[in-house]
């Protein structure tokens, strides 16, 4: 049975820099492989609808006639399945998380 087992740890951390960051003032660094946010680039897209079909949550909507691609950010689970299946590589997963979505509206591109 030990007494003051915590003191060594407490003392060590009292003398070192805190491991936490001051978040809103100091934004978190994105990690290399992080799945942050889905980004769509219009140039290559052929509106084939594969991404919308494969999306497990039904967050994507593609309209071939009007050449529209839409995403419901609150539904998107950033799994990256659409990026994998996209034949034209017009979808990309960025490492930064972007701003939070607050409404259920679809974002049209």
């Amino acid at each position: 049975m030990g007494y003051f087992e915590m003191s060594k740890l407490a003392l060590k951390w009292a003398l070192t820099k805190p491991p936490t960051t001051r978040y809103p003032f100091e934004p978190r660094k994105a990690l290399a492989g992080s799945r942050g946010q889905l980004v769509f680039t219009k140039d290559n897209c052929v509106y084939c609808n594969i991404c919308a079909k494969k999306c497990p949550t039904g967050a994507l909507l593609v309209n071939r006639a009007q050449k529209k691609w839409a995403i419901d950010r609150l539904r998107c689970i950033t799994c990256g399945y659409c990026v994998e299946v996209c034949p034209k590589k017009s979808l990309e997963m960025t490492t930064s998380h972007g701003s939070p979505a607050v409404t259920r509206d679809r974002e049209f591109h």
């Binding site: 049975m1 030990g2 007494y3 087992e5 915590m6 060594k8 740890l9 407490a10 951390w13 491991p19 990690l31 290399a32 492989g33 992080s34 799945r35 494969k54 497990p56 689970i77 950033t78 799994c79 990256g80 399945y81 994998e84 997963m93």
Partner: protein
């Protein structure tokens, strides 16, 4: 002596998730505990009827937020067994690594909650500080902090390159040192021992009869670990179950502390032996057949019973999660304990209620 019924939960400071117990107490002693669960039944088993079997891996991963990867892995293993898919060895090793990383982060989460539950705030903070380092490794390699999303039927989605393996191994050294620091407090400190020793004792026979799994079973002296069955890369990496004989809360804490180091060793061995090659094979067609697959989660053995009839939707998707199996034992050890020890006993089974109810 008059009896009083004290409601415990569904909202309680030690409970991250809702479970309700009606505690019948006589003075300060608990006489009986009546459970009521089912507050967060989400019907995920029913969802198998509408989601196809390929995308269902995302649902399986979301059964639990903490052991998510092993849920996904078990689901994939079950489908691969039914469809007779040969998964490339590199994928099996990567699954093992991620599975053990998730075990470390789950055990650290539990140690933190445990310290928080007994009022040891600084120890709680330190447990989670170390956990954050593990989560960073996980995020850098899979892309997610708790929902890995890196397992798919036929293999894995992402590879870890040699450069990253080196950095992970270096980080692991630091993590292991941190683990040594905090587990020393958990295992030796007088105030921790006063809260845990001799509380909620479960004998070896009781643990077996009540169908306990995982650390709960091993803390009572039964050496059973599903990793010994040799799924994924465990056929090349032997795992010796960590057991204790006391069967009290302290033993459960000690088993989890030692498993942390075991997992670090497994990751090191896996990286030393990892073969080169493909990380996934293409899977076509629909599954036909039935299987019962068992793997070892941080909380214990998980059982997947899958039945497929050749359509793209599974006929039956049934999961028996470890907490479900450990609940009867918790109800068994509660009568006779002090009211003040109830939170400790409830925490030592590592309750994961959303897992339990699915």
């Amino acid at each position: 002596m008059p009896r009083t019924v004290i409601p415990f939960g569904p909202q309680h400071p030690v409970l991250p998730e809702p479970i309700h117990l009606d505690l019948v107490v006589e003075d300060e002693k608990v006489i009986e505990a009546r459970p009521s669960i089912g507050f967060i039944h989400r019907g995920l088993e029913k969802l198998a009827e509408t989601k196809d079997y390929v995308e269902f891996v995302y649902v399986a991963e979301r059964i639990c937020g903490i052991c998510s990867f092993i849920h996904g892995q078990t689901y994939c293993q079950a489908i691969e067994t039914i469809m007779n898919v040969q998964v490339p060895p590199r994928a099996l090793y990567l699954r093992t690594v991620w599975g053990e990383l998730s075990r470390i982060h789950s055990h650290l989460l539990w140690l933190g909650l445990m310290a928080d539950g007994m009022g040891f705030e600084s120890l709680f903070m330190h447990s989670w500080r170390v956990r954050e380092k593990v989560l960073n490794i996980i995020e850098a390699t899979t892309g997610g902090r708790v929902i890995f999303g890196s397992c798919k039927i036929g293999g894995v989605r992402r590879d870890i390159n040699a450069e990253t393996i080196k950095t992970i191994l270096k980080d692991l050294d630091g993590i292991e040192q941190d683990l040594r620091d905090i587990t020393r407090v958990f295992l030796n400190d007088r105030s921790v021992k006063a809260r845990l020793c001799g509380i909620g004792v479960l004998s070896k026979q009781e643990a077996w009869d009540l169908g306990c799994v995982g650390p709960m079973l091993r803390a009572s002296g039964v050496a059973q670990d599903m990793r010994q069955q040799g799924y994924a890369a465990f056929k090349d990496i032997p795992v010796e179950p960590i057991t204790r004989t006391e069967g009290d809360s302290y033993a459960r804490c000690a088993v989890r502390c030692e498993e942390l180091f075991q997992s670090v060793q497994i990751i090191r061995q896996a990286f030393a032996k990892i073969p080169d090659g493909e990380i996934a094979v293409k899977v076509t067609g629909n599954p036909t057949g039935e299987t019962i697959t068992r793997t070892e989660q941080p909380r214990g053995e998980v059982v997947y019973h899958l039945k497929a009839n050749g359509t793209k939707n599974l006929q039956r998707f049934r999961v028996r999660t470890p907490t479900f199996a450990n609940l009867p034992a918790m109800l068994k050890v509660l009568p006779g304990c002090d009211l003040a020890d109830v939170p400790m006993i409830v925490l030592t089974i590592d309750p994961c209620i959303s897992c339990t109810e699915r």
